[in-house]
Symmetry: C2
Subunit: 167 residues, 2 copies
């Protein structure tokens, strides 16, 4: 435990550098095209073949909104305009915080990116609820469609606790 | 650049471990006591002697709300109940994302923590605007008092760009 700190840290025994381990941000989009939203079927593990919102790890030097736009472009080749932060989901047992923005698709020229088998627009009653890759995505989409039905979008905050299943 | 990646990474030449560098979350509270809010005067660098909201780096294994409660306890010995996420401020040039929650002080038994010279409750017209430690805190407090005057709190998202001054 470094002097003045309250937790044990990874410290290099040679040079004394402290390697802090902090939660990572995963950022993505609910990309809307009229009454449909864009999902991606994963071509990588974990959860190969299951459906997810375009999202991924935020990188240094970008903002959360820029990360959401970049991930949507990388995974779904889709260009979006950010509307509003919609969902913050904590997943403390894997040291992640997930943020999802509502965003507007600028056109329907989307396609599968490198980590994606296929991309598709889904109306609410066609969402593949039984084949979603992550619990964070399911929570976010449930809140999204509930808000849309009542005609007003809020900010939704959740925390997923460990329970055998990974988030 | 590791296979399948799109950015150069720090890779250990001996064992091949990839050390990803990602933005860090700084999380804190606007702790309310009736019409006043709690500020802390810093006893550490950077910005020794200037005023700030209780906030600090989120740790692994906790949620954002838990981090806000913990930091408020550590820096101001203050016990709070979280109300709502109020502000998300990106500071991409230092690879940070700051989150501030509105919170209710449970009692006024606050006191200076280890990184604090003194703690004090401030009404809006007494806030030391010229002696605030960070631009993220100033932005957050401006939005907070503006929302309070209009009687409704929203979520505020900002991005601070580099301009000579550190955020």
């Amino acid at each position: 435990m470094p002097a003045g700190d309250s937790l044990p840290r990874h410290v290099c025994p040679q040079c004394g550098t402290i390697h802090y381990q902090n939660p990572k941000l995963v950022v993505g989009c609910i990309a809307e095209w009229h009454d449909r939203i864009l999902l991606c079927r994963r071509s990588i593990e974990p959860r190969y073949g299951l459906w997810t919102l375009p999202a991924g790890f935020m990188e240094n030097g970008e903002s959360t909104a820029q990360a959401a736009i970049r991930e949507t472009l990388e995974e779904a080749c889709a260009r979006v305009e950010i509307e509003q932060l919609f969902s913050l989901v904590n997943v403390p047992h894997i040291n992640q915080v997930h943020l999802f923005y509502r965003a507007r698709l600028l056109d329907i020229g989307f396609a599968a990116g490198l980590e994606t088998l296929e991309t598709q627009l889904f109306a609410e009653d066609c969402v593949p609820w039984q084949s979603l890759a992550f619990q964070t995505v399911a929570l976010c989409l449930q809140a999204y469609f509930a808000d849309r039905r009542r005609g007003r979008f809020g900010l939704h905050e959740d925390c997923i606790e460990r329970r055998g299943k990974q988030a």
